[in-house]
Symmetry: C2
Subunit: 223 residues, 2 copies
């Protein structure tokens, strides 16, 4: 296992988060670093998806991971077993990251020469949707066992993401989950949302996801 740092994040002093987020995004663009903000409920498969994504792409690009959590380091430990550079961010009870907190994490990671950074946000469908982190793209995972009514209950989250990964499709037969209904509900809120059904566990659909990441990183970094 690689060593990893644990950073206790300070509450932001900036009133205008949107301004800070745009500033950070511009800097990352100049630095040729694509920042992906990954959000979901607890237990929907964020860390497994991160691990599989690193494995698929680590030979093509230099990858870093910011693991945000209230106060554990379980996820950073898992990622530290890969070749990606990882830092654990402790939010001290806060259930989101804003742009300044993300900046603290990136500085802690020491980002020079990193092409692709995954920010695994705090497991939550509410607060993280309310704060622009400065990410290049926002991604949400909804897992099949969580149910197909989630776009109705968390419309803000569905409205701000570029990609919706529907995870644990291997368990579809076990749950009453209407994939078509989710797609319709999500697209009603966000017509441009890209929906990719996956199983991070079995690998089903993951190639489509890796291809999306590969293209976005290339476009952002103008390779």
């Amino acid at each position: 296992m690689n060593e990893f740092k644990v950073l206790e994040i300070k509450q932001s002093v900036f009133e205008d988060n949107d301004k800070q987020a745009n500033l950070l995004r511009e800097e990352l663009k100049k630095d040729k670093t694509f920042l992906l903000n990954l959000m979901s409920s607890p237990g929907s498969g964020k860390t497994t998806t991160v691990l599989k994504t690193i494995k698929a792409l680590e030979n093509e690009m230099k990858i870093g991971v910011l693991e945000a959590d209230i106060d554990s380091d379980v996820d950073a430990r898992a990622v530290a077993k890969t070749n990606a550079k990882v830092i654990q961010l402790h939010t001290g009870g806060m259930c989101h990251l804003d742009a300044d907190m993300t900046r603290q994490g990136l500085e802690g990671l020491k980002i020079d020469g990193i092409d692709f950074v995954i920010l695994e946000n705090v497991g939550n469908l509410v607060c993280p949707a309310e704060f622009d982190t400065g990410a290049s793209k926002n991604i949400m995972i909804l897992s099949v066992p969580e149910g197909d009514d989630k776009p109705l209950k968390y419309p803000l989250m569905f409205s701000i993401v570029d990609v919706l990964l529907i995870n644990k499709i291997d368990a579809m037969e076990y749950f009453d989950f209407d994939l078509k209904a989710v797609e319709e509900r999500a697209k009603k809120i966000n017509p441009n949302i890209k929906i990719i059904p996956i199983s991070a566990k079995t690998g089903e659909g993951m190639d489509k996801w890796f291809e999306w990441v590969r293209n976005e990183v290339k476009n952002w970094n103008q390779i």
Copy 2:
């Protein structure tokens, strides 16, 4: 379907939530109303558990339900099909309820003569754990697909609940979920926690849960 009211909750004006929570708890004790605060991630099966609990106990006691959500009324619609009285609480973006917000909900429900009120809190493992709602008892549902590492990641939530329902045990074979590890991790944080594995879907283990509720309501209401 019964009619139900939708109440837009106002942000609390009280600085000392603990004091408000204790006040509310004392009033509920005098009114012989047992208030259960039910918390979990989105999609862990709160509403299904509520529906099954109402069905099992509605002939023995008068039941009311407070359905808290950011801004949908999906859950209240489901509960309105039962004989229980239900009100939908909209938190206006806030991911928790505090004691004053709970009081607003109870007043909206018009609580006279109700023995047992279930507060279905906002789906979240962080914020709801930080605010005492004034409930008689606090319950958390962890569902099998969410994973067995949750006590490590959300210790505050596990530390404040009286009962941990481990739901969706019918799907156990589909997921890498170590029930014994969860029990050990939860008890390390909270030695007095009562753990009941259930499947709200198939009914497995539910009798034990109903029995717990029945006894608690009786003891609280001094029947």
